[in-house]
């Protein structure tokens, strides 16, 4: 019994796009890793006390720790070449990689002239962007 199953079209051209997207993702993660590592190393470089001082840890990881997490404070920190600022940039890049992935998928569906899924992926993208703004609004 043959069934007429409607399978989504996957022309080989889209396979290439998907490959590029995967590559983009991995580059994004690598870039983020670079920022995370350099930022952490820089923090230790600027604070040699971190290697021997037993009293500073509480300020760094305790509930009352302070670190940049709004756009202004992050840019400030990066401008002053603070390690934690660079780490935060790395974290931001990392959080953005899936968002880019969804944006790319939206384009692919749009190219395929698949209206329903262009809308669906756009909604997901919108939700992701909304989460970024929602976060800002919590200030």
């Amino acid at each position: 019994m043959t069934s007429t199953v409607s399978i989504a079209p996957v022309p080989s051209k889209n396979r290439d796009i998907e490959s590029w997207i995967s590559l983009l993702l991995r580059v994004g993660v690598l870039l983020s890793l670079v920022f995370l590592c350099i930022g952490t190393l820089l923090s230790f470089f600027h604070h040699p006390g971190y290697f021997s001082d037993h009293t500073q840890l509480k300020d760094l990881i305790g509930s009352s720790a302070s670190f940049p997490h709004s756009p202004q404070t992050v840019l400030h920190s990066v401008a002053a070449v603070h390690g934690q600022g660079l780490v935060t940039i790395g974290l931001g890049v990392l959080i953005l990689t899936p968002v880019l992935r969804v944006a790319a998928s939206t384009l692919v569906f749009w190219q395929q002239r698949d209206r329903v899924f262009t809308v669906i992926t756009s909604v997901v993208l919108g939700l992701l962007l909304f989460s970024l703004l929602l976060g800002k609004g919590l200030h």
């Binding site: 990881i61 720790a65 934690q84 953005l96 990689t97 992935r101 989460s131």
Partner: protein, 278 residues
């Protein structure tokens, strides 16, 4: 403890978590959060924040993810993302409002469930032949090349509506606890929607990163992602998971898995009790 010691130890523990996670098919998050809270006494919100970042790292960066791309059913993934993303947002917001002790309790329960589900034998479901109007309309059905079988396998998808609802729950759990909740996602796709195992695994892997990004943004702006903690955790879990997926085959030996299940159940109990006694 000096900051340097903390950084080093956190990195090491995260690597182990990533390694174990990839060996057992559990996310690194499920191991990292208890490790950070029970061993280091870290505020659970920082632990969850750091864990979410590491989940994105492994989801986007894992070399295996690329291979699985061709197995991922992108349409099902994006459709279900409607559920997980809304759930993740809700979970992330709620996490900031409720008393942290509930996070411990829910984490303990969720971790217990994940541990037990490791023992579940996943049946290769017969390809569903039931017609599903929505699945047909949305063209969710797919096909993939099964290397083990050596030919293309076609499959049909059913009950996407239930799938979305289950995904909302999975997303919410992910937003609350900072884990990938792959166990829940795979459950929904296996049982509710009848996707083949390889497809549901690959699709789940893809979705996990997007879901985590939704909650991560909220945690980040709320100041729950501490860079000093998140950096070694993200890098450590990523290294561990990548090494694990490349160097070691997935652990299938049931008796060894059983040992891990017992250990994980014990840890889940610790988390649960920590929440109860808080």
């Amino acid at each position: 403890m000096t900051p340097f010691q903390f950084c080093l130890e956190t990195f090491a523990i995260s690597m182990v978590a990533g390694l174990l996670g990839s060996l057992l098919g559990l996310g690194g998050g499920t191991i990292v959060v208890p490790a950070l809270t029970l061993l280091f006494g870290l505020d659970i919100r920082y632990a969850v924040g750091a864990s979410i970042v590491s989940v994105i790292a492994t989801s986007s960066g894992a070399a295996a993810a690329y291979v699985k791309e061709h197995l991922t059913n992108l349409r099902v993934a994006m459709l279900l993302e409607l559920g997980t993303t809304t759930g993740a947002l809700a979970g992330a917001l709620i996490a900031g409002l409720i008393n942290p002790r509930w996070l411990y309790i829910i984490f303990g329960l969720m971790m217990g469930y994940s541990a037990i589900s490791m023992l579940r034998v996943r049946h290769i479901a017969a390809v569903s032949q039931e017609p599903d109007v929505w699945a047909d309309r949305l063209k969710l059905h797919g096909a993939y090349y099964d290397e083990a079988l050596g030919h293309v396998v076609k499959y049909k998808v059913t009950r996407p509506g239930i799938g979305i609802v289950l995904m909302f729950v999975a997303g919410m759990v992910s937003g609350l606890l900072g884990i990938g909740s792959g166990a829940l996602k795979v459950l929904a796709m296996d049982l509710a929607m009848r996707l083949p195992i390889k497809v549901s695994t690959a699709t789940s892997n893809f979705m996990i990163g997007v879901t985590a990004a939704a909650s991560a943004a909220v945690y980040f702006a709320r100041g729950d992602i501490n860079p000093f903690i998140a950096a070694p955790v993200a890098v450590g879990v990523l290294f561990g998971a990548t090494a694990g997926s490349r160097l070691l085959p997935k652990l299938h030996n049931q008796s060894i898995r059983l040992t891990f299940v017992v250990v994980l159940l014990w840890v889940s109990a610790q988390m649960f009790l920590k929440g109860v006694h808080a």
